[in-house]
Amino acid sequence: MAQFDVGKIPVRQVSTGQRIVLFFRKNSWGYAFVLPSMLTFAIFTFFPVIWSFIISFQDFRPRGGTTWNGFDNYVKAFTTQNNVFVTALKNTAYYAILTVTANILIALILASLIQPLNKYAQTFFRAAYYLPAVTSAVIIAVIWRWMFNTQWGFLNYLLSLFGADAVRWLSDPDIALNSIVLSTVFTAPATGVVLFSAAMGSVPKDLYEAAELEGAGPVRKWWSITLPLIKSTTLYVVVLYTIASFEVFEKVYVMVPSGVGDSTQTIVTQIYQMLYSNLNYGVASAQAIVLFLIIATISVFQFKFLRSDVEY
């Protein structure tokens, strides 16, 4: 019996040097494979994020003489130029609430409408809705700017057919932001349609058959079966669109390059101007961190709110 006593088996001592060699033999390929992307990640994401956070607490001077200034940049971020950033926050929230709601509803409806069609028709409509999404936001904005033209634009021409007066779509401060919202709503929510229709396609058919036997109509089936079963996709799409709408920039900047007063300023156009035109690194960083905090808070809230339900 004694010869099987584990404690008495002589263990060969491993030196530190051998241990290091062993460690590298075991791990080196893993490290080698992640190294290139981790270098890019470290240099262009991780390090700049931390640096930006530091800059947001500094009076940053590119040519030397940088000093710490506590929360000054955050105070300035909100108060500079007659509180324009506060207006930008409100505008962005307004844009986000309207476009996210509209996009989600339209995507759900379009995806539901193409669901009963045959495979080829489904593919056709998905592709048709997706086409504008492969075009640069800059070009989409150039097109809409022309369609919104007060004198020769297509939209005012349409209105004139109904006898309506010309609308100053992009030059009236009370209308401009709504026009930008309109241009977003009128472009089909491509990703939403594709994701929703994929999710709807994977709902088990026998659930619908069971509901039909109990006398449920199409609307009832949609409300009680389709919607609950695609909830995780809905969550994903809502978060995706919310983030994208809070980061809205190209559309606004290209459609109304110098803004219509403050009425079309958004968070990112402010950050852009603060950095690119004013070279104010500290305040630009502070405003970018504010954007991050807003997006993080909303995402967490959306996850909590939309997730907590029963899993099917």
């Binding site: 290139p36 981790m38 990640f41 994020v49 504008p132 070009i139 022309w146 297509f154 994208a244 920039f249």
Partner: protein, 288 residues
């Protein structure tokens, strides 16, 4: 009794399907027209001589179509071909690096065991929540003060890998059976050989989706290129097209000829690889 039931059921079905089909197709066709009209208008305006673009009523169908705007574009916007070349150079370089780097690390995160793997992966993934605008300040400072302005590398380098690509490749490679790699090793493949001969070929669907989306994303990218590519000859198509608006303010024919040429490669690309695009979106590959 049974026959009657079938009969009744068949009739209600037929009625309800006509009841639903007409408004359904109508709704689909109308929304498609609304959604595609701006794209149509882009090409119509590009083909309409500028003097005909500013009249009421506008030509809904380009009856006076000519390529005059395109001729003027190339003679008056003299850097347009530079923009196109820059766009191609930047987008292709980024896509090649992106696919290589993301696939390699996606494989390592999915299959390789190394010290600190999970911590590193979650660290990388957690930055997905951070908007890219946070990194603008330090990167802009570096570009401004180390002579990288107007240098294509300032746009290319930050784009050589992405958290999203790493995540996508990891998720895909995780589903590949590990036995294949082991079989490869037994047959004498090196670690590199396992990646190159087994993992990479099997990952083609994910690599295709990643390549397509990277290409579209950087072809259309505006914010960062517009900050660092200042001189006209160094700019990309989106930056250049946006600048046409200020340079040729009301010459809509010319602006739109430039815009339509910039949009055309992506549209053709999409029509050719449409299936992979839609498949890629389903893999969770792009917002937009």
């Amino acid at each position: 009794m049974a026959a009657e039931l079938v009969n009744v059921k068949g009739r209600t079905k037929a009625v309800s399907s006509i009841w639903w089909k007409v408004p359904l197709w109508l709704a689909l066709i109308i929304t498609t027209i609304i959604s595609l009209f701006p794209m149509y208008w882009l090409f119509v305006t590009a083909l309409t001589p500028t003097k005909d673009t500013i009249k009421i009523p506008p030509d809904i169908i380009p009856v006076n179509a000519s390529l005059d705007n395109f001729n003027r574009l190339f003679s008056q916007a003299k850097y347009y071909s530079n923009w196109a070349i820059n766009s191609f150079v930047i987008t292709i370089t980024i896509t090649v690096f992106h696919v290589a780097f993301d696939t390699l690390s996606g494989y390592a995160f999915a299959k390789k065991k190394f010290f600190g793997r999970n911590v590193l992966f979650w660290l990388v993934l957690s930055t997905l929540m951070i908007p890219p605008h946070v990194t603008l300040t330090p990167l802009y400072f570096v570009v401004q003060n180390f002579g990288l302005r107007d240098n294509l590398l300032a746009v290319i380098m930050p784009g050589t890998a992405s958290v999203f690509g790493i995540f996508l490749m990891r998720q895909f490679i995780q589903t590949l059976p590990t036995e294949l790699e082991e079989a490869g090793r037994i047959d004498g493949c090196s670690e590199w050989g396992v990646f190159w001969r087994i993992i990479a070929p099997l990952s083609k669907p994910a690599i295709g989706a990643l390549a397509i989306f990277t290409f579209v994303r950087y072809w259309n990218d505006y914010l960062w290129p517009s900050m660092v590519l200042i001189k006209a000859p160094s700019q990309t198509l989106p930056v250049g097209v946006a600048s046409l608006q200020t340079e040729f303010s009301t010459d809509y024919g010319l602006i739109f000829s430039g815009a339509s040429l910039a949009a055309l490669p992506m549209i053709i690309f999409f029509l050719l690889f449409q299936r992979y695009f839609l498949e890629g979106v389903r893999m969770g590959a792009l917002k937009g």
